[in-house]
C-alpha cells in the first residue's frame, strides 16, 4: 500500500490545530469554544498517529488512545460545568463571565 507520507498528515494536523485555536480565541459561545478545544485535541492525536506510522513504533497510538480517554472524561466534566454555569448565571457567553478581573 502506498503511504501518503508524514508531511501531509502534519499539514492537516496543523491546519486543524490552528482552526481549533482560532475558535477558542474568538468564539463567544462556551459550547463552541468547548468543541474547538476538542478539535485541538484531535489535531494533536492526528499528529501522534502520523508520527507513530512514520517511525513504526506504537507509542504514538498509545498516547492517542490515552488522549481520547482523557478527552471523553474532560467532555463529561466540561459539559456538566457548562450546564451548571447556565443554571446559576443564565449565561453561556464567555465575555459575560469576567468575575476574575483585577
Amino acid at each position: 500500500m502506498e503511504s501518503i507520507g508524514l508531511y501531509p498528515v502534519l499539514a492537516v494536523s496543523g491546519v486543524l490545530f490552528m482552526l481549533g485555536v482560532t475558535g477558542v480565541l474568538t468564539r463567544r459561545n462556551l459550547l463552541i469554544v468547548f468543541m474547538s478545544v476538542e478539535l485541538m485535541l484531535n489535531a494533536v492525536n492526528l499528529a501522534f498517529v502520523g508520527f507513530s506510522r512514520h517511525s513504526g513504533l506504537v507509542d504514538g497510538h498509545v498516547i492517542a488512545i490515552l488522549v481520547m480517554a482523557v478527552a471523553a472524561a474532560e467532555a463529561a466534566v466540561g459539559l456538566a460545568l457548562v450546564i451548571l454555569l447556565y443554571r446559576n448565571r443564565l449565561a453561556v457567553q464567555m465575555d459575560e463571565l469576567d468575575t476574575l478581573k483585577g
Binding site: 477558542v24 480565541l25 474568538t26 464567555m94 465575555d95 463571565l97 469576567d98 476574575l100 478581573k101 483585577g102
Partner: protein, 668 residues
C-alpha cells in the same frame, strides 16, 4: 586528682539546676542549703587540689580534657580544665569565700516580707560560681571567655534580683552594657592574637606560652601588634575589674542583695581581670608600653576611687568605691610585672572585703534595709560580733601591721617604688611610671585609712541616730543570727592571718616561712620573672612600709578628730559647710554626668535624629514603600488591561507565549 577538676566545676552547676527545678516546692532554707552544700563540697575538693599541687614537684599543672568542643582544620578548642598554682589559688578563694557567703545568704535572705522567690537567688548564685570556675579553670581562651560572659550574665541577674524596683533593674542593665564594652575588646584581642600566630595559632594557655617563646618573630616584642593585643585584653580588664574608664557600673551594682556585693562585686568576679593579666603574663611582658598603661590606669583608679569614697553616705557605696580602689592596686601590681603581689592582694582583699560587705550586710539586715550611715552610729553596743569582726576587717584594709592587708598592700607599694624603670616604658626614659604609680598608690592608701575610719566611726561609735521611737522595728538594733555571724568570724580569722601566706622578706627572723606564695606561684610566672630580671632592693621594703604607716596613722587620727572627738551635732561634720572639693567628691566627680553628656547623649542624638529619622524612616522604610507603591501603581494602570477576567485574553497570552517559545526553540 585531675578527675576532680570537672567535678569541682560541675557541683555548682548541678546545685543551680536542682534548685531551679525543685525551688518552687521547697522552703527557702532548703534551696539555700542545697546551694551551700554544693559549695562546701566544691571548696573541700578545691583545697585538696591545692594541697596536691603544694606537695607535688614545682611547675606541675594538672589538666583534663572532657572532649573536643570545636574542630576546624588545624584549629581545635577543647572543653578542658587545668589547675596550676595560680588557678588553684583562685579556685580556693572562689569556693572557700563563696561557700561562706552562701551560708550567710540563708540568714540574710530570710526576710519573710520579701516577695521575690529566694530559690531564684540561690540558683543564680550557684550558677555564678559555676561560670567563675569555668573562667579560672578553662584551659583555653575561648572557654575562659564563656566563663567571662557567664559571670557577667549572673552579675546582671543578681544586681537586678529585686527587679520590681526600676532603679535596681536599670543598675543591672548598666553593669551588663558597660561590661559588654570591655568584653568586646577582649574578644577582639583574642582574634588578633589568633591571627598574629598564623600557622601556630592556638588558644590553649600552655601551648600559647610555648608558641610565644618558640617563635618570637611571630610576636615581636615591643611591637605595635602585641601592644594593641595587650591593650585590647586590658580593655576587657577595665570592664570586668572596674578600672578607669569603665568602673562606673560597680558602685551601681550595689543595688543587688548584699551577699551578691560581697561575693561577686568584691571577692571574686571583679578580680577576673587581674586573673586574665596574670594568665597572659607572657604576652604583657613583651610590651613595656602596655604594662606602663596598665600600671598607670591601676594606680590612678586606686587614687581616684578613694577620693570618691571619702564623702559617700551609703555604707555600700563607700565599700564599692573602696573595692574599685583596691582593684586598682592589684591592676597596678600586675601592670608593673609583680604578678605574685597582685595575686596576694586578690587573696587578702577577698577575705577582708567580703568580711566588710558581710558586716555591712549584717548591719543593714539588723536595721531593716537602712544603708545611710547618717542613720547609724553606736552600733558596737548592739551588735558585738559584727563590731569585732568589722574591726578586724577595718584594721586589715587600712594596713595595720600584722593583718593581711598590711602585707599585701605594702608589698605592692614597695614593689612599685623600686621597680626598674625600663620595664614599663611609656613616653620615654624620663617619665618614671613606677614612681607615679607609687605616689598614686600611697595617696590612695592615706585616703583609704581616712574613709574606712570614717565608715567605722560613723556606724559603730557615737549615739545611735536611727529609730525615732515611733516604729517598733527600728527602736533597738539587734545582733544577727548565727548563720550570719559564723561566716563573719571565719572571714575575720582569715583576714587576721591571711598575711602568713606571704610574709615579707624582712620578717625571716621570726622563724616563719617568708614569701611562701612567691615560691608556690613561681613556676607559673618564672619565664616572665626571668625576662623582667627583677633586682629589687629588699632593704627599702621596711622604710617604705614605715613611711606608709606614719601617713596612715595621721590619716586615722584626722578621722578620729573629725568624727569622734569633735563631731558637733551633724552626723557628717564635713557636710555641714561643704567645700567645693567635697561637693565634687560627693558627686563622684560627676563622671556619670560626663558620660551622659559626652557619650550617651551624642549616641542618642545620632540614633534618633540620624539612624532612626533618616536611615530607618527615610532610607529603609522609604525604599520598601517605594517598591510597594510602584507595584501598586503599575498594577492599577497596566495590570487592568491584562487581568480582564476574560478567559480568552488569558488563552491568547498562552497561545502567543507558546508561539514565541516554539519560534525560539526552532531558531536556536
Amino acid at each position: 586528682m585531675e578527675s576532680l577538676l570537672p567535678v569541682i566545676v560541675a557541683l555548682p552547676l548541678v546545685g543551680s539546676i536542682v534548685i531551679a527545678l525543685i525551688g518552687r516546692r521547697v522552703s527557702r532554707e532548703v534551696s539555700g542549703w542545697i546551694g551551700t552544700g554544693a559549695m562546701f563540697l566544691a571548696a573541700f575538693l578545691s583545697i585538696r587540689v591545692l594541697l596536691d599541687l603544694v606537695a607535688s614537684a614545682a611547675g606541675t599543672v594538672t589538666s583534663t580534657t572532657l572532649y573536643t568542643w570545636i574542630e576546624v582544620g588545624d584549629f581545635t578548642a577543647d572543653i578542658g580544665f587545668a589547675a596550676d598554682p595560680l588557678s588553684a589559688g583562685f579556685m580556693c578563694i572562689i569556693t572557700g569565700v563563696g561557700s561562706l557567703i552562701h551560708m550567710y545568704s540563708i540568714g540574710y535572705m530570710s526576710d519573710e516580707s520579701d516577695r521575690q522567690s529566694v530559690w531564684r537567688f540561690f540558683s543564680y548564685l550557684n550558677l555564678f560560681v559555676f561560670a567563675m570556675l569555668l573562667l579560672v579553670m578553662g584551659d583555653n581562651l575561648l572557654l575562659m571567655f564563656v566563663g567571662w560572659e557567664g559571670v557577667g550574665l549572673c552579675s546582671y541577674l543578681l544586681i537586678g534580683f529585686w527587679y520590681e524596683n526600676a532603679e535596681f533593674a536599670s543598675a543591672g542593665k548598666k553593669a551588663f552594657v558597660t561590661n559588654r564594652v570591655g568584653d568586646f575588646c577582649f574578644i577582639l584581642g583574642a582574634f588578633w592574637l589568633f591571627w598574629m600566630l598564623g600557622d601556630h595559632a592556638t588558644l590553649n594557655f600552655q601551648q600559647l606560652e610555648v608558641v610565644v617563646h618558640a617563635y618570637p618573630m611571630l610576636v615581636p616584642a615591643g611591637g605595635v601588634a602585641i601592644t594593641s593585643v595587650c591593650l585590647l585584653f586590658f580593655g576587657g580588664v577595665t570592664g570586668k575589674s572596674a578600672q578607669m574608664p569603665l568602673y562606673v557600673w560597680l558602685p551601681d551594682a550595689m543595688a543587688g542583695p548584699t551577699p551578691v556585693s560581697a561575693l561577686i562585686h568584691a571577692a571574686t568576679m571583679v578580680t577576673a581581670g587581674v586573673y586574665l593579666i596574670c594568665r597572659l603574663h607572657f604576652l604583657f611582658v613583651l610590651s613595656p608600653i602596655a604594662m606602663g598603661i596598665v600600671a598607670l590606669v591601676g594606680g590612678f583608679t586606686a587614687f581616684f576611687a578613694a577620693t570618691i569614697a571619702v564623702t559617700q553616705w551609703d555604707i555600700k557605696k563607700v565599700l564599692a568605691y573602696s573595692t574599685v580602689s583596691q582593684l586598682g592596686y592589684m591592676v597596678m601590681a600586675v601592670g608593673l610585672g609583680h604578678y605574685v603581689a597582685g595575686f596576694f592582694h586578690v587573696m587578702t582583699h577577698a577575705f577582708f572585703k567580703a568580711l566588710l560587705f558581710l558586716g555591712a550586710g549584717s548591719i543593714i539586715h539588723a536595721l531593716h534595709h537602712e544603708q545611710d550611715m547618717r542613720n547609724m552610729g553606736g552600733l558596737r553596743k548592739y551588735m558585738p560580733v559584727t563590731f569585732w569582726t568589722m574591726t578586724i576587717a577595718y584594721l586589715a584594709i587600712i594596713g595595720v601591721p600584722g593583718l593581711s592587708g598590711f602585707f599585701s598592700k605594702d608589698e605592692i607599694l614597695w614593689l612599685a617604688y623600686s621597680t626598674p624603670p625600663e620595664h614599663v616604658a611609656l613616653l620615654g626614659e624620663g617619665f618614671r611610671i613606677q614612681r607615679i604609680a607609687y605616689g598614686l598608690g600611697f595617696a590612695g592608701a592615706v585616703l583609704t585609712a581616712f574613709y574606712m575610719s570614717r565608715l567605722y566611726f560613723m556606724t559603730f561609735f557615737g549615739e545611735y541616730r536611727g529609730g525615732h521611737g515611733d516604729d517598733e522595728h527600728h527602736a533597738e538594733p539587734h545582733e544577727s543570727p548565727w548563720l550570719i555571724t559564723v561566716p563573719l568570724v571565719v572571714l575575720a580569722v582569715l583576714s587576721l592571718f591571711g598575711g602568713l601566706f606571704n610574709l615579707p622578706h624582712y620578717m625571716h627572723g621570726l622563724g616563719l616561712p617568708t614569701e611562701w606564695l612567691h615560691h608556690f606561684l613561681h613556676p607559673v610566672f618564672h619565664h616572665s620573672m626571668d625576662a623582667l630580671a627583677f633586682d629589687l632592693d629588699t632593704g627599702k621594703e621596711f622604710p617604705v612600709a614605715a613611711v606608709t604607716l606614719v601617713a596612715i596613722g595621721a590619716s586615722v587620727y584626722a578621722a578620729y578628730r573629725i568624727y569622734i572627738k569633735d563631731p558637733g551635732d551633724a552626723p557628717d561634720p564635713l557636710a555641714v559647710e561643704p567645700s567645693r572639693t567635697w561637693e565634687l567628691s560627693h558627686g563622684k566627680w560627676f563622671v556619670d554626668e560626663l558620660y551622659e553628656t559626652f557619650i550617651l547623649r551624642p549616641i542618642h542624638f545620632v540614633s534618633r535624629q540620624g539612624l532612626w529619622a533618616v536611615v530607618d524612616v527615610v532610607l529603609i522604610d522609604g525604599t520598601v514603600n517605594l517598591v510597594g507603591r510602584t507595584a501598586q501603581g503599575l498594577g492599577r494602570h497596566y495590570g487592568r488591561l491584562v487581568q480582564s477576567g476574560q478567559i480568552q485574553t488569558y488563552a491568547l497570552a498562552i497561545a502567543g507565549g507558546s508561539v514565541v517559545i516554539l519560534y525560539w526553540l526552532s531558531v536556536g
